[in-house]
Subunit: 278 residues, 2 copies
């Protein structure tokens, strides 16, 4: 199973579902809607949505039934990019070769577009809920709120802004919350909507956290020439960081070894997340 | 039934539930947690939570069972204040006699605290969900996301910032989305978690929208000396605005006339929301 082929196969379904979940840019307030869509289309590889779909397959579920989870995690991911790019945070003017939202529009619109994307994520996660799957949807909302909130993404970002990463543990704590929590939520909410057991969810979540930390260490390795910020390479050096990423990936794959052949797409994506471009 | 007594009676239960829903200010990241709590404690009158509890009583439900809705709408309300106060939006330095969050902390922390409050709202709305009430929780998430997102609160705020309110319809469109949507969501999510029928939810929501617009017109009347912003008083004059608020309140009370005596606390709160300080 080739990860890039799997990503390419997921992309049109995910993009269609994202388009359906977002208000049209031709309807008022058009400026807000255009700003919400600015970083979504064209988007990236849609790694998190693909992880949700692959996790559903890994537990024998129907990938189409978990599109709400795929959409929700991508909307949370993009909202976090929009807010992280703001002048009061990372003050980035360009992303993927295009102006960031506050540059293309203005700062207030970027704050509000991020707010609307985060809100839309939770709306998307329960869209079309039925009596049969309502309990899984409610638990998915709980899991996504945990991954995205003060205990996850937002808490990781505030510690990242505060600096002071003098130990591998401090760096990995930020990586866990700022990157790994949402990657793990993509996998676990996808599997949850596909009917995974609590035991399956526990190993899938653990595999997601390990892979998510390794994913971020890969970013540290790719940006090794930058001499500031939260980076494991700066604290323990390139060779040790590379070893740590591989060990985390190995442990993630071991966690989900029992899921058998139908978890091959998920395994391919986990390998890809850590080994891309290296 | 006296509205102020009802508000005072709800307050300790709501404040306790809010405290439980938020991370402790003594746990890391302490600065984020303190910023999240800055506008929550001490808070306002908790009108929206009280509306959720009164709506539950109005349909014969248990008020304690709907505390998740009461907490969620207050968290959304406070998140919206934190972001609206930002320098790039209304640039307010003081609220209720205390420095706003971006003044007491900093701008990045205020953006992130708002993000975390919004996320916590959805987490609170599904906290403790059971198989029995999961469907109602999922629908409450849908309703709150609709009220808070691009079609509601966020869309109203972006149009408010853009200005140009040359007709009563344009003013009321902003009032509907920026104020009334969340007031209506407080009432309808409270009633939903209390087991209201779809027919009851429809009239309660309509009553909430009418009262929410009238609530905002009351604000316009109280701030009638301010000569800018989205205000019905500026467009149609004080007397006509006062008449319009009363007509909206009358229509709200008529909508819920069939709910009988157990809806008296809700009726008292709706009257209070429109007639306070006038």
């Amino acid at each position: 199973m080739d990860a890039q082929e799997y990503l390419a196969a997921c992309l049109p379904r995910v993009d269609h579902a994202l388009d359906e979940a977002l208000p049209s840019a031709s309807e008022p307030p058009a400026r807000l809607h255009a700003a919400m869509r600015h970083l979504i289309f064209p988007g990236g590889k849609r790694l998190r949505p693909a992880l949700a779909l692959a996790a559903a397959e890994a537990v024998g579920g129907d990938a189409d039934a978990v599109l709400p989870a795929a959409v929700a995690v991508e909307l949370v991911h993009v909202y976090s990019l929009v807010h992280d790019d703001l002048p009061c945070m990372d003050d980035d003017v360009e992303r993927r070769g295009r102006p960031t939202v506050h540059v293309a529009f203005d700062e207030a619109t970027a704050v509000l577009a991020g707010d609307a994307l985060l809100t839309a994520a939770f709306g998307a996660l329960v869209a079309g809920a039925t009596e049969r799957d309502a309990a899984a949807r409610a638990l998915a909302v709980r899991d996504l709120a945990h991954a995205a909130g003060a205990a996850g993404l937002v808490g990781g970002q505030i510690d990242d802004l505060a600096g002071a990463f003098d130990s591998a543990a401090a760096v990995e704590s930020v990586h866990t919350r700022k990157s790994a929590a949402l990657i793990a939520a993509a996998i676990s909410t996808g599997a949850r909507l596909a009917g995974a057991s609590e035991a399956q969810l526990a190993v899938l979540h653990a595999a997601g956290i390990a892979t998510g930390i390794a994913f971020q260490i890969t970013d540290d390795l790719l940006d090794a020439d930058e001499d500031e910020g939260c980076s494991l390479v700066r604290v323990i050096g390139e060779a040790a960081a590379r070893e740590r990423a591989q060990a985390l990936l190995d442990s993630a794959l071991e966690q989900i070894a029992d899921l058998g052949a139908r978890a091959e797409p998920l395994r391919a994506l986990l390998r890809y997340a850590v080994q891309r471009k290296l």
